[in-house]
Amino acid sequence: MRPLRLTSGLSAFVLSTLFWLGSFWVALRVGAVSDADFDLVLQLRLPRVILASAVGMGLSVAGATLQALFTNPLCEPYTLGISSGAALGAVIGSALGYDASYSGLAVPAFVGALLFAGVLSVISRRSTSSQLAVLLAGVMLGLLGSSLVAVWMAVSDAQGIQGALIWLMGSLSRARMEGSILSLFGVITLSLLLWRKWRELDAFLLGEEGALALGVSVQQVRTQMILLTSLLVGLCVSGAGMIGFIGLMIPHFVRRFSGSLHLTLLPLCAIWGATSLNLADSLARTAIAPYELPVGVVTALAGAPFFLSILLKRMGRVEG
């Protein structure tokens, strides 16, 4: 197992980047309409591909980070309820009539995510909060958010809420050039900030106790990482709605081939997340044209069997 890891880092990167560029090409070319209209490609597909790369990157990096932070292979970007915060923000924004031209409900969704991120950071900072406590707090926050959305739905005009919820369903078709580039920039910045702490994330692999023994100031690092990942997830959800399974699957997939150390894991997750979302979106766009499959459906259909296989493998593991 070992020889494929640390030393082959460079070739792994080169290979992965090639795949990523390949996915770009596929996304731009597949489903070509009668004439290969350059206009079409530029106006509609390029922003879409950029957004897919940004969101795929963001979700995978966030997923990998959360899995390490909570030493739990089942963690994924939405575990801490940030997406419910975004949903709540979107719903309230839509009810207040908020509808800025380029961003749709992106801004109120991001604000909602930010608020939830803030609450989580405060909880994480308390020294009496263990890893499990923070995780549960996140799950509870998520449930709270969803419940509030449901309450709002029950008492308000169903039409507006419908619009907000459709908006939240994962879709890359809203992509505009400015928004996509902004998202990409944001995702890259946040991912770099997370990547900087790769040593600490590695330490978390040995558990909270293990990390402490190694000299990591667990509370501080955890709070910082939670804040950064929440911003990352908030950015992704405000830009493209909720797209599941990427954040869960990609880190596991990359670990199989390149090990768990975050120096290489995070960048490879970023690249593969971008690649897979591009491919999934291409499929969503062309599979039943002119209808468009929700991209979250494509990722879930690919992801669910994978998820099950992880579970079964873990349950069948023999204790040493």
Partner: protein
């Protein structure tokens, strides 16, 4: 052996600790604990289950702190307060090795031990230097787990993982190592090897070890001194001969009816069941 008149390396004074604010008559886990550990000392911490041994070990290594308002006391590394140190610096001085060393994700033994060193570095892109890798190799060879280096932790047996855990502690460079049931799953030959390694490091390089082991005879074989933790306080401390006594043991383990004898090979005190109720 403990150097005479050496100043304590790791010490605790008046430690009072509880995980949550004590309500009413609920006592603190640790009421008033004071102890001192010196360079070259291999000590063992005795106490019944639930007496707070692990908690004390974690407080002594910085995994837990006394910062909550209901806690009191002081833990010092030489003359500095342990909790004031930057966590990285602290890790270079004292470290804790727990009973379970594992990872939920694929991590090789080598990678795990390397973490001890890589966390001390600040270079963004360098996974490890040659020096780091040499130190890791040395540590793993001393702990007889170098041949396991490419195996993933979750594929190793309990004893194998404990050897890797010890190697991690060594590689990290800390000279005070607290071992919480860290030898319990090793095969006897490995236990012997690690025990001898401890003695050697203590005698030749002035390392300090504090062991907790549910098997008293393992503890007494390698240690030269002992502390007894009972009802939240240190009730007895000193050389093995002064502490390992029948009255102390029967206080800790009432009803066990234990006898203390001597090892025919090392002369160390050994604990026996009197088994007077046998058929």
């Amino acid at each position: 052996m403990v150097a005479p008149n050496s100043s304590p390396r790791l010490s605790a004074y008046g430690v009072r600790f509880s995980f949550s604010p004590p309500r009413g008559r609920e006592p603190f886990i640790l009421g008033n604990v004071s102890l001192e550990l010196h360079p070259g000392q291999v000590a063992t911490l005795l106490g019944a289950n639930g007496s707070g041994k692990s908690t004390l070990m974690k407080l002594l290594s910085g995994l837990l702190t006394l910062e909550e308002s209901w806690c009191e006391g002081l833990v010092r590394y030489q003359s500095e307060e342990l909790y004031r140190l930057d966590s990285r610096v602290r890790a270079r001085r004292v470290t804790y090795v727990g009973p379970d060393f594992s990872a939920e994700f694929p991590v090789t033994a080598f990678e795990a031990v390397l973490m001890g060193r890589s966390l001390q570095s600040r270079n963004w892109f360098r996974l490890s230097t040659n020096e780091d890798r040499d130190l890791v190799r040395e540590a793993m060879e001393k702990c007889q787990c170098w041949d396991l280096r490419h195996r993933e932790l979750h594929t190793l047996s309990g004893g194998e993982r404990q050897r890797v855990a010890f190697a991690r502690a060594l590689a990290q460079g800390a000279k005070v190592i607290l071992l919480d049931e860290a030898l319990s799953r090793m095969d006897l030959h490995h236990q012997a090897a690690i025990g001898q390694l401890m003695r050697q490091l203590a005698d030749q390089s002035a390392y300090t070890f504090l062991l907790v082991s549910h098997d008293l005879n393992v503890a007494t074989e390698w240690a030269d001194s002992a502390f007894v933790l009972h009802e939240g306080e240190i009730r007895a401390q000193g050389g093995l001969g002064t502490v390992i006594r029948e009255d102390v043991l029967n206080m800790l383990y009432p009803g066990a009816d234990l006898r203390v004898g001597e090892s025919p090979t090392s002369g160390k005190p050994k604990v026996f069941f009197s088994n007077s109720r046998s058929v």
